[in-house]
């Protein structure tokens, strides 16, 4: 009987199943590497373990006793603490206060005063354990991302956790900080703390984990001691299906006519000297880890972020201004990675979402009087073209659509503008396999119509399946370029993971 036992957990959101009967075990003092593509169910299963979500079916036990957390608080009380990818700290409070915010110790039980001395001492101990050399009274807002990451760990330790879940802990860390983190994790392990380590960086998993569990499409498709898992094996298990059946062939090849030309784009602390071109009918892939500068590049091109130097040209003409409208007028469309927050108006009907970027093109220029008939016709046409399955685009709210259909809405709203350049940032994130294939088809028809596509994805095999060329970025710089003929998952990952010198901002 393992210390933590998770048995066939199932969960679905908005009717879309994301976990089917997932199960695994964890001993104390053991490190379990949990890997899988985006949308494979890693985060969901961990959120269930951490009490953020409740499972629809299945059960969990800790040291033999049933464990069914109703909230993250319950989880903490049972010794499970979850270090989320986006940190959970209060920048307006000091480190020590962040550690004890759930309840400060009192000098005497009857005296409702914070025992500053005690938390000071305790915090100092904890900070020593994680080798963070700052006074406990420092405001968190003054700490770097990496330091904040460490404070999160200290927080977990302060609740004397038996199990700590790390979700992509290294994405925003420098190499030095990563090494330090690994030492600490090793020490935690030595203290008999069980650790679940989620990461895309298979190299790290190989280096840290004792055992590995691989998830795909919400199912556990393999688990065992690390010895049995080479990086290649992990990858093939993660990807599973043979590339060809998932990624349809494209009829027309790319032309030589350059549509988008990016020259030496630079913004300090973000990206450095990024240059590339995309021609008609070409799909260019950007691979790299979170914070490598992929999305940042896209956002700068589309005018959502400032840049210090460099230039962006569409069909030879430089963009008029650093603003989305300028980019749109030049013929660029942009599907952002944050669908709910930036792609859609969740509480508006599909029709309004489709119409939003197309109002100006369907209205009299002077009066802004909308030609509602043609707008409605176009919307209908596009929703048919992307095979949107929704009862009535005028009444159904975006919120009530499945992830795949939501993404189709975002695609359709941009397609209505007949863009020359389409930037796709994680187009298949949180989308079930079926919808993925459809989205790939849409992208292909788009490309066949002569559009130039810039595709960003954390799923290397997706890039391999869709792209003509792939640029690997890390720490804001382009590290390598791969032509279709010499695509190779491992070399691409390598390139994406090599860390150059990086100034700590």
């Amino acid at each position: 009987m393992a210390y933590l036992q998770v048995e066939n957990i199932s969960k679905s959101f908005f009717g879309v199943p994301v976990l089917h009967g997932v199960g695994f075990t964890l001993e104390r003092g053991e490190i379990l590497g949990l890997i899988g593509e985006n949308g494979s169910g890693k985060s969901t299963s961990m959120n269930i373990l951490g009490g953020v979500h409740q499972p629809d079916a299945g059960q969990m036990t800790i040291a033999g006793e049933t464990y069914a957390p109703a909230s993250s608080r319950d989880a903490l009380e049972r010794g499970i603490s979850f270090i989320h990818q986006e940190l959970n700290l209060f920048p307006n409070l000091s480190i020590e206060e962040n550690l004890f915010i759930r309840g400060f110790p009192r000098p005497r039980p009857w005296l409702p005063v914070i025992d500053r001395k005690r938390i000071r001492r305790r915090t100092e101990q904890l900070l020593d354990m994680i080798e963070l050399k700052v006074p406990p009274s420092t405001l968190v807002s003054r700490l770097s991302q990496g330091e904040r990451q460490l404070v999160e760990i200290a927080k977990a330790l302060s609740t004397d956790a038996k199990i700590i879940i790390f979700d992509e802990p290294t994405t925003s860390l420098t190499r030095r900080e990563i090494d330090r983190l690994f030492n600490i994790i090793a020490r935690l392990k030595a203290q008999g703390i069980g650790i679940i380590y989620i990461s895309h960086i298979l190299g790290d998993v190989e280096r840290l984990a004792d055992r590995v569990a691989v998830l795909r499409d919400g199912m556990l498709i393999g688990a065992g001691p690390i010895g049995e898992f080479s990086v290649d094996r992990m990858i093939s298990m993660m990807v599973g299906r043979s590339i060809s059946q998932l990624f349809p062939e494209r009829s027309r090849a790319r032309t030589s006519e350059v549509v988008l030309e990016v020259m030496g784009l630079t913004q300090p602390g973000m990206i450095r000297d990024v240059s590339f071109t995309i021609s008609r009918g070409e799909v260019l892939g950007l691979s790299g880890l979170l914070g490598a500068g992929r999305s940042e590049t896209a956002r700068i091109i589309f005018g959502l972020a400032p840049y210090r130097s460099g230039s962006v040209k569409v069909l030879g003409k430089p963009l008029q201004a650093n603003h989305p409208r300028a980019a749109m007028e030049a013929g660029i469309a942009f599907l952002t990675e944050d669908r709910r927050g930036e792609g859609l108006m969740m509480n508006a009907p599909i029709y309004d979402n489709l119409a939003l970027p197309n109002l100006d093109t369907h209205a009299r220029p002077q009066t802004g009087w909308i030609d509602r008939t043609t707008l409605a016709l176009r919307a209908e046409e596009l929703s048919r073209r992307v095979r949107l399955n929704a009862a009535d685009i005028a009444s159904v709210l975006a919120r009530n659509l499945s992830g795949g259909n939501q993404q189709k809405v975002v695609l359709a709203k941009w397609l209505m503008r007949r863009p020359d350049v389409f930037i796709l940032d994680e187009p298949t994130r949180g989308v079930d396999v079926g919808a993925k294939a459809e989205i790939y088809k849409i992208i292909n028809t788009l490309v066949e119509d002569g559009c130039a596509v810039l595709m960003i994805s954390s799923e290397t095999e997706e890039l391999i399946g869709m792209c003509d060329r792939i640029l690997a970025m890390s720490n804001g710089e382009v590290r390598a370029t791969f032509e279709r003929e010499d695509f190779d998952q491992e070399r691409i990952l390598e390139a994406a993971m090599q860390n150059g010198r990086r100034e700590v901002a």
């Binding site: 993250s72 209060f90 920048p91 307006n92 409070l93 915010i101 914070i114 973000m270 999305s295």
Partner: protein, 329 residues
């Protein structure tokens, strides 16, 4: 790095703009009238700003949680009305306790509406403002009521030569300072205001914190009504009217942010005194009384502007500038 230093300097200037204004105001008034700077007048200012100060301290608790309470003026009137009409018979200390209890209960109602029925604090308290005033007008029969002797005497009682209002003011400040800085509740108020989602993930009972912020606000509104009533010795139907705005102004002047999580009661007290100083000074230099509100409003406006610009800077410093910022408030 340089940019950041520059930002922090600018940020500091914005942060302390109210202080700078205060210095300028005091300086110019004392130049215009010799009487302005004498001790007795300083005491006057504190006495006159006591009720707004106490009200503002309560408001600060709510603002720190990124909420707002527009009903405090109504609470003041209701609490005192009930007191003057029904409780005069009671021994004074008991009556005073009752008044405070009324305020706390009213605050609890607000808290209930906001935490349990999920009504936006703005509209919830705007409605209870009118309901409260309505009930109070009913209680007083919309009449002006002269308060009984004991209250008048209370208004005049001095402890060690200082009016009781000053002591009440000081005590409120001390206690709230202690609560906000030295208790779990106080620190959690700041946490909730900074990021409610993170707070609930961290296992803080967010709703509970919000609820009690409103209870405290209501309670202090009642206290402030006692201070004010004992000064004017009577309550008319426009007693406490629009005091909510004065209180919010005091808090914001003191650097409490409407976006929650930043600020404190010390600043609020300063804000209340700043407002009162301006009015007092204007009287002493015999200025046209009709420009008082105009002057005060302009100062408040400057403070708000400084606060927002500062917030924008903080956003730029804390977050990755790559993100499109959402809308404030």
């Amino acid at each position: 790095m340089k940019e950041n230093n520059f930002r922090w300097v600018l940020h500091a200037v914005l942060r302390y703009l109210p202080l700078i204004l205060f210095a300028i105001i005091v300086a110019s008034f004392s130049l215009m009238s010799s009487r302005f700077l004498d001790l007795r007048n300083m005491v006057n200012i504190v006495i006159q700003s006591a009720h707004i100060g106490i009200l503002g301290i309560g408001m600060t608790f709510v603002l720190l949680t990124a909420g707002i309470d527009l009903s405090v003026g109504a609470i003041m009137y209701l609490a005192c009305a009930v007191f003057a009409v029904y409780l005069v018979a009671l021994p004074i200390w008991l009556a005073l306790l009752a008044v405070c209890a009324i305020g706390a209960v009213f605050g609890a109602v607000n808290g209930f509406l906001i935490t349990r029925l999920n009504v936006a604090s703005f509209i919830a308290t705007l409605s209870t403002l009118f309901i409260g005033r309505g009930i109070a007008l009913f209680v007083t029969g919309t009449q002006l009521i002269t308060l009984p002797k004991p209250v008048l005497e209370l208004g005049r009682t001095t402890i060690f030569g200082l009016s009781w209002t000053v002591w009440a003011f000081g005590l409120t400040l001390a206690v709230s300072l202690y609560v906000l800085s030295q208790t779990t509740f106080g620190r959690q108020v700041y946490a909730v205001g900074a990021d409610p989602d993170a707070a609930s993930k961290a296992g803080i009972d967010v709703k509970r914190i919000l609820f009690f912020a409103f209870v405290i606000c209501g309670f202090l509104a009642a206290v402030s009504s006692l201070v004010s009533a004992s000064q004017v010795g009577s309550i008319s139907p426009n007693f406490g009217i629009q005091k909510e705005f004065a209180a919010i102004a005091a808090a914001v002047l003191g650097g409490t942010s409407l976006f929650g999580g930043r600020g404190g009661v010390l600043g609020t007290v300063f804000g209340a005194i700043l407002i009162q100083t301006v009015q007092n000074g204007l009287v002493i230099i015999n200025a046209d009384p009709y420009i008082y509100p105009v002057v005060v409003a302009s100062i408040i406006f400057l403070a708000v502007m400084a606060d927002s610009l500062r917030t924008n800077f903080l956003e730029r410093i804390d977050q990755r500038p790559i993100r499109v910022e959402g809308q404030g408030s």
